[in-house]
Amino acid sequence: MSDPGVKLWCNFSDYKPGLGSNAAVAEANRCLNCYDAPCTRACPTGIDVPGFIKKIATGNMRGSARTILEANILGASCARVCPTEELCEGACVLHDLHERPIDIGRLQRYATDPVVYEDDDSPPLFEAAPENGRRVALIGAGPASLGCAAELAQLGYETVCFEKADKPGGLNTFGIADYKMTFHTALKEIEWIRQLGVEIRCGQQVGRDISVEQLRQEFDAIFIGVGLGGVDPIGIDGEDLEGVRDSLEFIAELKTHPKEEVALSGKKVAVIGGGNTAIDAVTQSARLGAERVYLVYRRGPQQMGAYKHEQELARKDGGVFVYHSQPVEILGRGNKVAGLKCIRTEHRKGKLQTVEDSEFVLHVDYVLRATGQSKLTDLFEEFPGLAIEDWGTVIADIDGRTSLKDVWAGGDCVSGGQEVVNAVAEGKRAARSIHKTLQGER
């Protein structure tokens, strides 16, 4: 579905490119500057959206970046990866005037990029406070931990993130559709956060390379921001065939390799699932040159979890949505995938049931699972007494407090899977709570 002759990386260029200064100021001037602005209320990190936009209009660029990054240290990422259509831009009052909402994401990118990505001689916007002698360990170096650590560093804490992968950032680095944000863009932002005094130790898996006991000895508090695990097998025959993959692994691979090396030219792909990850797998397969990409979902369009604008994107990329279909077997030729056998489903007596004699086969070369990520229960078991939901997420209150008095948690390992911006907000709230608690101990 990629035009022949087009270099594949072209298909992955920014789907919301940056704004030039004239366009940014014109857009900023469109903002009504609402009272108690709905966009700000819709932002999980509560960025003062009209505030930063009006600073763009006046040319106070440093002030604009400060307004954003003070609320959300990953503001440059979120400018690219946030589902703004669902959050700030979705709340814009201009919808009611039948006008285009303010392009908040791109304005945020315009304001934050110079600070986060362009080295200049101006003094840093944020700095670590003088050390207060307290240390906090963060497990994982994804958005939740980074949001938490950055806040703590500015409060004078020594922070160390233990990251099991070889690069930091979690899903923000490895799991974002490449046309939204590249691998290197994510890493460069983390370099900027490191300058605040956030230490990140990669290749360090808690429970393997360092024990929870050690962490408790060396640190005053622990934040768990490990996110979720891979996509588990769905439990049908043929999942061991070559060509059956976890869609997150697939996305991580294409983000970290030249596109020609991971091209799918002429191939047919079936993606199983109905969430935003499934959509990302569809769009990116198509952009890697796949001849046909199916999205196989066992329920109907109304039940699909993926955002509407994301579904639209997948359709524009040529994705074929196969609703009310449940995979029953992956067919092989030799040890390679040759097809995905599905059966029709329907709602009967309030339940989703298969339809007898309705099997059909999609002839595909790859099957990508996007049916929900596993929970990292092995790690949680390292914390005796840590309360866990039946479905495997950590139980934490609004401030990230868990059942253990020295352990906080946030991000996907608590929520079960939300946006980067939610994880940053949770990390930041946990940092405030940790600070309050540790201060109280003095």
Binding site: V25, A26, A28, N29, L32, N33, C34, Y35, D36, A37, P38, R41, A42, A57, A91, V93, L94, D96, L97
Partner: protein, 426 residues
Amino acid sequence: MADLRCNVAGIESPNPFWLASAPPTNTGDQVMRAFDAGWGGAVWKTLGEPIVNVWSRYGAVDIEGTKMMGLNNIELITDRPLEVNLREIREVKKRYPDHALVVSLMVESDRQAWHDIVKKAQDAGADGLELNFGCPHGMSERGMGSAVGQVPQYTCQITEWVKEVATVPVLVKLTPNISDIRYAARAAKEGGADGVSLINTINSIIGLDIDTLTPTPAVNGKSSHGGYCGPAVKPIALNMVSQIGADPQTAGLPISGIGGISTWRDAVEFIALGSDTVQVCTAVMHYGFRIVEDLKEGLSNYLDQKGMTLQELKGHSLHKIHNWKELDLNYAVNARINQDKCIGCGLCYTACEDGAHQAIQAEPRVDGRTYVEVRPQDCVGCNLCSLVCPVDGCIDMVEIPNDFEPCSWEDYTERGGQLAPRPEHQ
């Protein structure tokens, strides 16, 4: 199509839209192209003794991304040879006999010098003369322009000199850089002027480049005060135009209105306050001669819709402008928010709470917007909420009837008038 033909002080014109004396009327070529585009008249860029111009001449005020809401210039009168200008005036008049071609003049305050230049302009075929007593920059340092317009007896004297030899109507162009425009208009009338044109530009420093802290327009690192015009000056011009018509001593004096006119709506306002014709400059410098199509069509459609002639529109609103002391203090209005139209931006709340009289209640709406409602007992009907509201027709100012007779400040203080109760300030 309404009849747009008009006559100001005896100068006839196919429509009331003239180009003001400025860069757009610098050459015969420009004026002819303007007439082809549909302009009814043009006031030629001011003729006088030879001058030399600086190279950096204009500066602008942009407001929230809108370019050139205000423009200033430090350009002087024409820098082309007098003979060239006169030859081109003659040529234009020959080719466009039915258009109004007025020639702007400015020479030193010498009777003979004025006689000479008036005769030359008339010989070239000018339909009228406009005496430039208005430019606030450059020429004023040499005792011309606003240096004349700011002293009523000079205005009167030079107008008299001109009228000694003038065979065509004479308009005196007034400077707004004066505390009361009526004195200048009276002086022009006393000197025999057939009409006045106003306003000329307002003395100004348009701004600084804050990177270099140099005023603009910068001439090798320095600048000078200049003449300010464009949409931003329109309210000042409207007031001054209305004052001429309202002053018993100058009422009925023909007026060519000038000052920030960009659209036919602006023209309607100038005409309704007493202008016979209107002159346009900044809008043409911004968008070119082509804007005249909309100016003419818009005015014509407006007149047709109103069932009015251009003559009936002229001065129509003058009787509605009064001294404050004559306004009815018992006329009460209140803001009413149309909830069906409200988009929940809360701008009215911010404006009322911080900038006016704290009469709007705001609460978060379930959908994340802001619910707003006016507290009638606190509303003083100031209009501010309706001015900041981005939705047309969402906030109405509705009349609150009462049983009190109309009562002005004059009635109240001098005739024992009764005031209706008003909201108390907490």
